[in-house]
């Protein structure tokens, strides 16, 4: 059996205690465990302590307020997926969450865990023995990126299905960065361009995600998430396309498109002027889809021919837009 290195389990009683432990001990946070424990079995990290967050009170549940939907970080993905309010108000988020892994992963995994998911790479998410045979990589104990064949950067892919959609929805994270200190960070600002575990986020590693806040979309909101994968279950995304738009009648007044599973950060289209203030005619859709295709630069860090995945970025954008257009 593939085995984890030994560690001491810590079960803090409060968020502040958890953050303090994380800052002071050689440690990692454990939420649903579906990703972290596999990574530990791969010896990608060897923490002396694992901090169990599952017992912390008040970190789960979905509150729908006048201005925002606030989802506690420990809310199981299955709860988010099945929540009628989420499905109604931000349908794209329900779709994205429903597409994550398999049914058991969604019962165990949490939305916070999916947001903070480690980046993935075919040369990284492997056993210790496999990685030893290859030579360790920049992301774990080594000094070389096998994807780009260079020591300069880690391009492991952000592989969360919820992150592109939440980014498109303008989600804000409530992070406990130190005991007594809560910082709000736009999800769009969380990621660096570096895929390494300790460098992928712009916030200190001990930051503990307490909640994800999604501003209530304006009237006329439509959103959808399209996931490219080999099988219809279990697989991580080979590409994720999240589209959130607002329409006034048939005219689009705002749109965000965010791509996942490309680089260490979700890839948000910087401007989409050609799709705003106009009806989404076939010509508009084609123009945007083509731009997204050119914008996407898939790496061989994850499964699937990069050229094919790039082509799919255009196809899935087109399909998402045709699905959303009134």
């Amino acid at each position: 059996m593939l085995r984890m290195p030994a560690f001491t389990l810590q079960q803090p009683a409060s968020v502040d205690e958890a953050v303090r432990m994380r800052a002071e001990l050689d440690s990692l946070y454990l939420a649903g465990g579906t990703d972290l424990l596999v990574n530990l079995k791969h010896h990608l990290q060897r923490p002396a302590h694992v901090i169990d967050l599952r017992g912390l009170p008040g970190l789960d549940g979905i509150e729908v307020g006048a201005d925002a939907i606030r989802i506690g970080a420990l809310t199981p993905l299955a709860t988010v997926e099945r929540d009628a309010r989420v499905r109604d108000i931000v349908p794209g988020l329900a779709e994205a969450v429903a597409s994550i892994a398999g049914p058991q992963h969604r019962e165990m995994g949490t939305l916070g865990g999916n947001v903070m998911l480690d980046t993935r790479c075919l040369f990284y998410n492997q056993t210790e023995a496999w990685r030893t045979a290859l030579g360790k990589c920049l992301k774990a104990d080594g000094d070389w990126c096998h994807v780009i064949g260079s020591p300069k950067a880690c391009v492991a892919a952000q592989s969360s299905d919820s992150v592109p959609m939440l980014t498109a929805l303008g989600a804000v994270l409530e992070l406990r960065t130190a005991p007594g200190e809560v910082r709000e960070v736009a999800l769009a600002d969380l990621f660096t361009k570096d895929g390494r575990y300790d460098r992928m986020h712009t916030v200190p590693r001990e930051s503990l995600l307490e909640a994800i806040r999604i501003p209530r979309p304006a009237a006329g909101h439509r959103s959808t998430y399209r996931k490219v994968r080999s099988r219809q279950a279990v697989d991580f995304p080979q590409l994720g396309v999240a589209v959130a738009a607002t329409f006034d009648g048939r005219t689009c007044t705002a749109v965000e498109i965010v791509l996942g599973a490309l680089l260490p950060s979700p890839r948000q289209l910087p401007t989409l002027d050609e799709a705003i203030g106009v009806e989404w005619t076939d010509a508009v859709v084609e123009a945007v889809a083509d731009r997204v295709r050119r914008f996407a630069r898939p790496q061989r860090s994850i499964h699937g021919d990069p050229a094919w995945r790039r082509h799919l970025a255009g196809v899935e954008t087109r399909r998402a837009m045709l699905y959303l257009r009134p």
């Binding site: 984890m4 290859l134 096998h146 699937g304």
Partner: protein, 923 residues
């Protein structure tokens, strides 16, 4: 923690998972270890009613109440789901089913009347390799909607039979559904140590030295072994012994074993492995047949087992020609030729290999192992450990899927035996999922330069095939595979002339071997797709051209194999009607298509792997006044249900209830020899042995009853549950009849055996390879949706008609068809046992896990319409032939042909991945 309503102490290290706690501390072994990391779902338990992966949950973080499969039954009996899985034949090997049942329970608790789509969605995190999910979906629906009653009655038998032909339960299905069935890793012996094997990080390297001293000195380590302690080369095919249990001079693939350790626990064993120092001289490797065949290529083996120098990497070459192929090609009305590539794939049994060895004080070895060839393992263990065969006992506990992947001796079995001897205590070795990929022995990648021609009427006049098999680092069954790739192709379609050249080459990759449809699945791909091209050239319907060429019962193939029975025409009729072919083929909208393909497969190899004149299958029956019949058979029930089949046959002969027939199999000490569960031989060969033994016992019972009645045995008629006088109004119940027999003859028993007696096969060198006493036939029609924008292919429907001769238990036959189709479609669309060829990663497996090696889930598998064709075989038991492997073959070409019907492209490389489809569409 509360487990199944009882308090359980989580007295384990902090880093233990819930799965380890349940299995190894709490004795709840119903949750299974399949993939190590949440990719397969076999470890699923419920925590507060939610399906939870126990392998991805730390034991000490569980706060809710845990329900395992053992907790599902009540004092009133098993849960309705457990009953339904049993009754519907939803359990084959049973290994994934405990998790599957718990996922289904969570669904039904949430949604008492789910539809098919909801069931498939809820089960999509539980991989099943045996069933194709069809009967599982049926079972969940049944549990949701109806009471499943007990005792479960047999269905109606075939005309003229008591039991044969009746649907019914599989032996031990309820044990599997309730989690009580024991698999090898469920076994624990007193003082048991845990072994691990150190594996090579290099694809090709010379071992200069190995220093194990630091590992041996580690506290908790009981024994360390290296290759030189097991120097005897071996191979399951005794003519080609090119392998040792651990590498001695060189390592030949990444993952090859070089040393092994037994220690107090796995953590200690792993620490010890890290202390072993191996000094390697890295050599350049050959990873493809092209590289291996290049002039001056490095040689994977410098010499053979007789010490003769090897000049190249070709480990076997066969050239055979039947008729004048060139003349036939020259005068053909239509010809198709080209290059086809078949990708490697692996078995993917959800249970990883596991072995447990123990020696007694008299030097006798017992090895429990997840093996499907107990007898060959028995022989090899005796050689490797240098003990007489009389001192070796091999036991096969329940096995969690095999498919050819457990059909020869493996390093862990031999290493466990030697480690146990040195450690002086039992040693268990359980592969990680990654190690299963390195053990492999899966489907050979093959390259074909293929030509086929037909006359103006569509009759196949010539087939010419130049085949290169990528064998990996050792022989395994390779000698046979090299022949099978050519020898098994003629039939069920008739070839006018035939020539093949088949070359198997060594490469620095894990060794290939037999996977379901050994060696013969691959060449069906060029053949059956090229036939469609021929049909197109000649203006013939694809089914029609196959009818034109269909062999008849009693015909001999062009290469000299007698086919006593074939129902290929009935199979074609069935899939043509099922798919509404005539109205739909060639007429569906762009993107949707139908494709057909056929195949034929052996019912066992005519001759054993090592030449001898002893029975290939033996059965002993013991009976007594209790009415219980015990059947001893050395067969290996690997989930296909061979024990149930034998029970059916014995019950048929004796007239008793099959539930009263208990089959003891999988133990070389208790059972007469059977060669094992390979080459689809069990129903035919062990079936004949069981029938013979049953008839012998029946004769005694009839004679005793006749004597009691003062008549002759010919006046005694056997009926279900009783024996009756043919003319007079006299009868005696079955148990009373047994008492009469036991009184008359003393201890009751009988034996039966099977041996191929008449000469089979062609009269030429190699003519017996591929010879079988009977051949099955199969036809598939696949219906696909091809998305021309993305290239993604979705299999929408698959109709499979299989001629298995007499279906002794149709539920089990359907299970074999459905499971075969699932494995075939998964191989066609998703799976690839693939290696990096460039850069620093050269030689590494691309993803030795059940996440990166993609087995189709319940959502990727359509409902499979299996139909049984019974072309009774004159030699088979009651006319029975094989059903376990043949039904896989046509899936791959049928899907390829359907893709052509859908979007007009001819694919000659598989798997049919979306990037390939798009490239072909754009070409």
């Amino acid at each position: 923690m509360i487990v199944n309503g009882e308090k359980v102490e989580a007295d384990c290290p902090d880093h233990w998972t819930l799965l380890e706690l349940l299995r190894y501390r709490a004795g709840l072994t119903g949750a299974k270890q399949g993939c190590d990391k949440g990719d397969c779902g076999a470890c699923t338990v419920l925590v507060d009613g939610k399906p939870t992966l126990a392998c991805c949950t730390l034991a000490k973080t569980v706060r809710g109440e845990v329900t395992t499969i053992e907790g599902l039954a009540t004092p009133d009996g098993p849960h309705p789901l457990q009953r339904a899985f049993d009754a519907c034949g939803a359990l084959q090997c049973g290994f994934c089913q405990t998790g599957m049942i718990l996922s289904a329970k969570a669904l039904l608790d949430r949604n008492p009347s789910p539809d098919d789509a909801e069931i498939r969605q809820a089960l999509s995190g539980n991989l099943c390799r045996c069933t194709g999910y069809t009967k599982i979906v049926e079972a969940v629906k049944k549990a949701a909607t109806t009471q499943v009653s007990l005792p479960q009655k047999l269905g109606p038998a075939a005309e003229g039979f008591h039991v044969v032909g009746a649907r019914g339960r599989k032996a031990d299905a309820i044990g599997k559904a309730t989690g009580t069935t024991q698999y090898t890793d469920d076994l624990v012996r007193p003082r048991m140590a845990h072994g691990r094997i150190l594996r090579s990080p290099h694809a090709h390297a010379r071992i200069r030295s190995i220093d194990t001293s630091r590992a041996a000195a580690l506290e908790g380590v009981f024994a360390v072994i290296v290759g030189s302690e097991l120097p005897t080369p071996y191979c399951v095919i005794p003519w080609t012994p090119d392998e040792t249990a651990l590498a001695t001079d060189k390592v030949r693939y990444v993952g090859e074993g070089v040393a092994a350790v037994a220690a107090v626990d796995e953590d200690t064993a792993i620490r010890a492995l890290a202390l072993i120092e191996v000094d390697y001289e890295v050599l350049s490797a050959v990873l493809t047949p092209d590289e291996a065949l290049a002039t001056d290529a490095p040689r994977v083996h410098e010499s053979d087992w007789k010490g003769r120098e090897r000049r190249d990497n070709v480990c076997k070459e066969v050239v055979l020609e039947f008729g004048d192929v060139d003349a036939a090609l020259g005068s053909a009305a239509a010809t198709v030729q080209g290059h086809w590539s078949y990708a490697g794939s692996t078995h993917g049994a959800i249970e990883p290999h596991c072995a447990l060895a123990e020696w007694d004080a008299d030097g006798r070895l017992t090895l429990w192992s997840a093996t499907q060839v107990m007898h060959y393992l028995h022989r090899e263990l005796a050689r490797q450990l240098d003990v007489p065969e009389s001192k070796v006992r091999v036991v096969q506990p329940a096995i969690g899927g095999a498919f050819g992947g457990k059909s020869e001796p493996f390093d862990l079995e031999i290493c466990a035996a030697l480690l146990a001897k040195k450690a002086g205590r039992p040693v268990k070795i359980l592969y990680t999922r990654e190690e299963v990929f390195y053990a492999h022995r899966g489907r050979h990648p093959m390259e074909f330069d293929f030509r086929i021609s037909a006359d103006a009427d569509g009759r196949i006049t010539a087939v010419d095939n130049d085949i290169v098999l990528d064998g990996g680092a050792y022989h395994s069954f390779g000698l046979v595979t090299t022949y099978y790739a050519g020898q098994l192709l003629p039939g069920p379609l008739r070839f006018g002339t035939y020539r093949f050249r088949s070359r198997r080459v060594y490469t620095n990759k894990p060794c290939c071997g037999p996977k379901r449809g050994h060696g013969s699945v691959q060449p069906r791909f060029p053949l059956e797709t090229a036939i469609d091209e021929l049909a197109a050239q000649l203006g013939l319907d694809p089914i029609e051209i196959r009818r034109i060429n269909a062999m008849e019962s009693g015909e001999t193939t062009v290469n000299g194999q007698l086919v006593p029975s074939t129902g290929i025409l009935a199979c074609l009729d069935a899939v043509e009607a099922g798919s509404d072919w005539k109205a739909r083929h060639g007429k569906l909208p762009f993107g949707r298509g139908l494709g057909v393909a056929t195949s034929m497969y052996i019912s066992g190899t005519a001759y054993p792997i090592y030449p001898n004149d002893m029975p290939q299958s033996g059965v002993q029956i013991r009976a007594d006044r209790s009415g219980r019949i015990t059947v001893f058979s050395g067969t290996n029930d690997i989930g296909q249900g061979s024990s149930a089949t034998l029970a059916w046959i014995v019950a048929e002969e004796l007239g008793c209830d099959p539930d009263d027939v208990h089959v003891v199999s999988g133990d070389t000490q208790l059972c007469p020899v059977d060669l094992g569960a390979y080459s689809s031989r069990v129903t035919y060969m062990a079936g004949i042995a069981a029938r013979e033994a049953g008839q012998a016992l029946r004769a005694k019972i009839m004679a005793a009853v006749a004597e009691h009645w003062g008549t002759t045995a010919s006046r005694v008629v056997v009926e279900p549950g009783r024996l009756r006088h043919a003319e007079e109004d006299r009868q005696v119940g079955f148990v009373d009849a047994l008492r009469l027999a036991e009184s008359r003859y003393g201890v009751l028993g009988s034996t039966g055996g099977y041996k191929t007696t008449k000469k089979l096969g062609g009269d030429y060198r190699g003519g017996t390879i591929g010879a079988s006493p009977a051949y099955s036939a199969t036809a598939h029609v696949a219906e696909v949706d091809v998305d021309p924008d993305t290239g993604i292919v979705k299999l929408v429907n698959l109709w499979a008609a299989h001629d298995c001769g007499r279906a002794i238990n149709p539920t089990l036959v359907e299970g074999q068809i459905e499971g075969s189709v699932h494995m075939g479609l998964s191989e066609a669309l998703y799976e690839h046992h693939d290696f990096y060829l460039e850069g620093r990663e050269r030689g590494l497996h691309r993803g030795p896990s059940l996440l990166d090696y993609r087995i189709a889930t319940a959502l990727d598998t359509p409902p499979i319409a299996a139909s049984i064709v019974e072309s009774l075989d004159p030699g088979g038991p009651y006319g029975a032939k094989e059903a376990g492997e043949g039904p896989l073959h046509p899936a791959i070409p049928a899907i390829a042909n359907a893709i052509h019907d859908a979007v007009g492209i001819r694919l000659r490389t598989m798997p049919f991945t979306p990037d390939r489809i798009l490239a072909a569409l754009e070409a």
